[in-house]
Amino acid sequence: MKTKEKIILIADDDTDQLSVMEANVKSFGFNVCSVQSQKEAEDYLEKNKPDLAIFDLMMDNKDSGFILSYKLKKKYPDVPVIIATAVTAETGLVFGLDSQNERQWIKADTYMEKGIRKDQLHKEINKLLKL
């Protein structure tokens, strides 16, 4: 399947970060559906199946990204999820997906700290979509 036919769902309540992410992902040649809240993402997932999803962590709830990943994986186990967030290690809150334990409750494939470089993001998406 070519990139043009792939749809990537992006959810972020920060308009600016959403538009930057959208522009970047579009520049890789993907189709993008962008939403600004957990609620909108849930509504979208009710009727649509994206090829990959990128969720911000803190939206309507502090753990919106986790909730969305969980719901998405329950409905579409094969759709890869990236959680992107500005919450970072400096505060002791680390949500890596390195241990088996973390993988069990964080239903995402990759966790990326925001300030993500474009080429990094591109590589990660291609890897997850096996392109």
Binding site: D13, D14, T15, D16, Q17, V20, M21, A23, N24, S27, Q36, S37, M58, M59, D60, T85, A86, V87, T88, E90, T91, G92, L93, K114, G115, K118
Partner: protein, 372 residues
């Protein structure tokens, strides 16, 4: 009634049964405790046995004889101290010497009860040790909770600080790569948005400074007779341009010269936050009523808007740090999420009260009463 586990370590069965008889139906209560404490008594005849028990089961209080057949009481105490075991130890001994007292105190014994003792003496000692244990654990719990609150604040704060940086960085990288072509005009919106985010950060920093000032306590407060009318007027004048932009009318009603002993800056923060919120969350063409009056030794400040209003769920969390009501109507309104939490903290400094009532789609009313 709560139970505390008490380990009685003595090689004389008579002493052990005596202690148990005295404490079996005894309970300790102080006005500051939610419930009384009674004692669950466990016996050990030697130091070795005592160590075995404390390794298996959490004890709260240990009554420890020093002169034991195997290892001595002081050695048990050393063991407890070395392993940072969370229990209070009281030495019960007939061979009390200064050397033993010093050694025991150094190893964290709470008290001494000399043998022989009367039931009253033992009960009094148990009251003291129970009170101490209770307060020690409460303090620990409060410190932990305090740390937890600070930790949460910092992690949310770092998130709030990083979001604008990430947004601006994202736009700058798009510019660097000329992602939408060579036409400078096509980048104007990104530049405008970046500037807006920088302004938001500036607001966040100034709110943080306000918060620091409040939380630093009395030191930095300057209490003096201030004129509430004049401060409100000043705040309204400052916010008039914002109101014009949103086409919102401001109405002010207050008797001239209303005096209160207060820190001027704090009162200004209250007015600035309430009025700017009333403007920001208003509808195009709406209005804000600002009412100040004194009533029964209170100064009442009422700020009423004709804005978008809030649901009951939103109201419940409104005054918490970094809470911003997020929905379709608030999407384009900027804010730090600290304003109302700061206002509430200031109002509390004056032993005042803040109330809010709101109807979605109709508006909100914030009422503050400050005792004169």
């Amino acid at each position: 009634m709560k139970k505390l586990k008490v380990l009685v370590v003595d090689d004389e069965p008579g002493i052990r049964s005596g202690i148990i008889r005295i404490l079996k139906n005894f309970s300790v209560g102080f006005p500051f405790m939610d419930e009384d404490f009674c004692f669950d008594l466990i016996e050990a005849a030697t130091g070795e046995e005592a160590i075995e028990i404390i390794n298996k089961e959490q004890m709260d209080i240990i009554l420890l004889d020093n002169k034991l057949p195997g290892i001595e009481g002081v050695e048990v105490l050393e063991y407890i101290n070395k392993n940072k075991y969370d229990a209070m130890v009281m030495m019960i001994t007939s061979y009390a010497s200064l050397e033993l007292a010093v050694k025991s105190t150094k190893n964290g014994a709470y008290n001494f009860v000399p043998k022989p003792f009367t039931p009253t003496e033992l009960k009094a000692a148990m009251e003291g040790i129970t009170k101490h244990l209770f307060l020690k654990r409460m303090t620990q719990k409060m410190n932990d909770e305090d740390k937890q609150v600070k930790f949460q604040f910092l992690s949310v704060l770092s998130h709030e600080l990083k979001s604008p940086i990430n947004a601006v960085e994202g736009y700058l990288r798009m510019l660097q790569e000329k992602q939408v072509g060579d036409n400078v005009e096509d980048y104007m919106e990104m530049i405008d948005r970046s500037l807006i985010r920088m302004k938001g950060m500036r607001h966040l920093i100034s709110d943080l400074l306000d918060l620091t000032k409040i939380e630093s306590g009395e030191k930095t407060r300057e209490l003096a007779e201030v004129d509430i009318y004049e401060i409100a007027k000043f705040s309204i004048d400052t916010l008039e341009p914002l109101a014009l932009q949103k086409n919102v009318k401001l109405y002010f009603d207050a008797p001239e010269s209303l005096r209160l002993k207060a820190d001027r800056q704090e009162i200004e923060i209250i007015f600035n936050n309430l009025i700017s919120n009333a403007i920001k969350y208003n509808k195009e063409g709406g209005h804000v009523n600002i009412n100040v009056k004194d009533q029964d030794s209170f100064i009442n400040i009422v700020v009423e808007d004709t804005g978008i209003g809030m649901s009951t769920d939103d109201l419940a969390k409104l005054f918490h740090d970094f809470v911003r009501i997020k929905n379709v109507n608030t999407r384009n309104i900027s804010g730090t999420g600290l304003g109302l939490s700061i206002v509430k903290k200031i109002v509390e400094l004056y032993n005042g009260k803040i109330d809010v009532s709101s109807k979605p789609g109709e508006g909100s009313i914030f009422t503050i009463s400050l005792p004169i």
